[in-house]
């Protein structure tokens, strides 16, 4: 059977775009090996000193630990909230569902800088009431990240619910299962892949979040992206290049593992 394949012109154009997409990721590798304290190309000798400074400089380690803590808490919060909401939507199909889902998706659609100003307003207002929870605290950042990630978690869980066969829930209900039993013993086991994906995506989004974080932190809650930002804006520290190389390698590995797993699942 004949198939419609891209011609040589398409292939050349796509190759140029592919190069453009990969170029800046490759460019950080030589910079990370420079022996100089400045952002320069290494001329001749290579050095791993910037990788060492990632381990030895406590600022990097502290911010990595802080980012992990914030990511775990905010991902747990947004997954639980998204899950209960989506179960309500799926099990009861209440009126105004479209409007309510639309409201939940707002933080994903509104320009991030406006969300940042909004969360800045929230956290500075709360700071007056509680020093624990307000501006420039890790709990405040975790909560703000939850606001930003909860629409993504909700979309993922709603999508996996939409692929679930309603009849198994109806059967459970007909056999007298309560709402709680239907949710925890029938529905959730069937969408556990969606729930885990939602939690992971929320964590990754929080781990990388910078646009909102810049507005709601100053000196105490320095997450990893915030520390990178400071290094990028003032004088460019090649340690950022070393860190970037590590993050790129991790990303490539995770994507490779994921594609192997999905290939195994589709071709048993």
């Amino acid at each position: 059977m004949p198939t419609y394949r891209p011609g040589p012109v398409s292939l050349v154009l796509a190759l140029l775009v592919a190069l453009f997409l990969l170029l800046p990721l490759l460019a950080v590798v030589p910079v990370s090996l420079t022996p100089s304290r400045m952002l320069t190309m290494p001329s001749g000798e290579l050095s791993l000193r910037h990788y060492r400074s990632l381990i030895e400089d406590p600022r990097w380690l502290d911010s990595i630990l802080l980012s992990i803590r914030i990511g775990v808490v905010s991902s747990a919060l947004s997954t639980v909230l998204a899950l209960t909401f989506s179960l309500g939507v799926w099990m009861f199909q209440p009126r105004f569902t479209a409007a309510l889902v639309g409201f939940v998706l707002l933080p994903m659609v509104v320009p991030p800088v406006v969300s940042a100003v909004t969360l800045y307003f929230l956290l500075t207002s709360v700071s007056g009431i509680s020093t624990f929870f307000g501006y420039d605290t890790w709990l405040g950042v975790a909560m703000a990240h939850s606001v930003m990630t909860v629409p993504f978690a909700t979309v993922l869980i709603l999508v996996s619910l939409s692929q679930l066969d309603r009849r198994i829930d109806l059967a459970a209900r007909g056999l007298g299962a309560s709402v709680w039993e239907r949710a925890t013993r029938i529905i959730m086991p069937n969408i556990k892949f969606g729930i885990v994906t939602a939690a992971l995506l929320s964590f990754v989004l929080s781990w990388e979040e910078i646009g909102v974080t810049l507005f709601i932190t100053s000196v105490n809650a320095i997450t990893l992206p915030r520390l990178m930002w400071m290094g990028l804006r003032d004088n460019i520290d090649p340690a950022i290049a070393a860190l970037s190389v590590i993050l790129i390698i991790v990303t490539v590995l995770v994507l490779a593992v994921r594609s192997v797993i999905t290939r195994r699942q589709t071709a048993p």
Binding site: P2, T3, Y4, P6, V9, S10, L11, L13, V17, A18, F20, L21, L22, P24, L25, A27, V28, V31, L39, T40, M41, V80, F85, G88, M91, F92, P94, V104, L106, V109, V110, P111, P112, V113, V114, V117, T118, L119, F121, L122, S125, M143, S146, V147, V150, V179, E208, I210, G211, F215, M228, L232, I236, A241, S244, L247, I248, T251, V254, L255
Partner: protein, 277 residues
């Protein structure tokens, strides 16, 4: 349906936590921002008047629209080129294209902006290389200007444009293309008169997503623009943190939301939402 009353109760109980959370942590503070825009520093419409009369704010608005338009054009075109191969290429081409799209997509915006700094700065890869082969004697200024901003934003937004284009290309019936080729139409002609028009909804969706994203973009312009080509989002940041003028920052935010909302409404009137995903 059985037990409608308890059904309604159950739905309310399950949906309440998230709705309550977002009302308290998002809707209410947004109204607070709107209030700022009317009350700081003085109650009244002064901030909105300043938006219209202040030449600095105006030049930032014009620059933002111009950069967003250029970035939309370039990134949708580039995304189209790679999506064609991702969707219609041979199996090996598909895997390679997917790799080139997804790896940058999952890498943080800071790392990607930093990669461009490493490439484009005065002592970066491109200038070092051009000087070493003697092509130029003085480094070219490639960042801290609009060029750097456009390059960085295009790089960031190409993957976002790919997804709606890919879904439009996947839903396209291949037999139509083969029929056109079989009737003697050339590759180019089939592409321009059959393929492109049939992916129109994907193009509109991609352009809209990229344009809306570019309007509110903060990190990449701030790093690659180096404070010289300020866009709206950075202006809001500067107004709130550097020259404390919360009222003006809030007013710009409100205008941005209204503008984006109007654009989205236009999009949903011209394309049915289902065609986008």
């Amino acid at each position: 349906m059985r037990g409608t009353l308890s059904d309604r109760m159950g739905a309310a109980l399950l949906m309440a936590p998230l709705l309550l959370f977002l009302v308290l942590a998002y809707a209410w503070p947004f109204l607070g921002v709107v209030k700022w825009s009317f009350t700081l520093p003085r109650p009244g419409l002064g901030q909105y008047g300043a938006l219209v009369s202040d030449p600095l704010v105006q030049s930032v608005f014009v620059r933002t629209l111009r950069i967003a338009a250029i970035v939309t054009l370039v990134s949708v075109t580039a995304a189209y080129a790679i999506t064609v191969v991702w969707v219609r290429g041979s199996p090996v081409q598909r895997v390679l294209a997917e790799f080139c799209i997804l790896v940058p997509f999952w890498i943080s915006v800071l790392t990607r902006a930093f990669g461009w700094v490493a490439l484009l700065s005065n002592r970066g890869l491109i200038n070092t290389w051009l000087q070493s082969i003697g092509f130029i004697s003085e480094p070219l200024t490639l960042v801290r200007n609009e060029f750097g901003v456009v390059v960085g934003m295009t790089h960031f937004l190409i993957p976002f444009a790919v997804f709606p284009l890919a879904s439009a290309m996947r839903s396209l019936d291949e037999r139509v293309l083969l029929a056109a080729r079989g009737l003697g139409s050339s590759r180019m002609r089939t592409f321009w008169t059959v393929f492109v028009p049939m992916t129109r909804s994907g193009i509109i969706g991609a352009a809209m997503i990229v344009f809306v994203f570019s309007l509110g973009f903060f990190v990449t312009p701030a790093i690659l623009g180096g404070g010289r080509s300020v866009m709206i989002a950075e202006l809001i940041y500067l107004r709130i943190f550097q020259s404390p003028d919360w009222g003006l920052g809030a007013a710009i935010s409100v205008v941005l939301v209204v503008f984006v909302g109007a654009l989205m409404a236009l999009l949903f009137r011209s394309v049915k939402p289902k065609q986008l995903v």
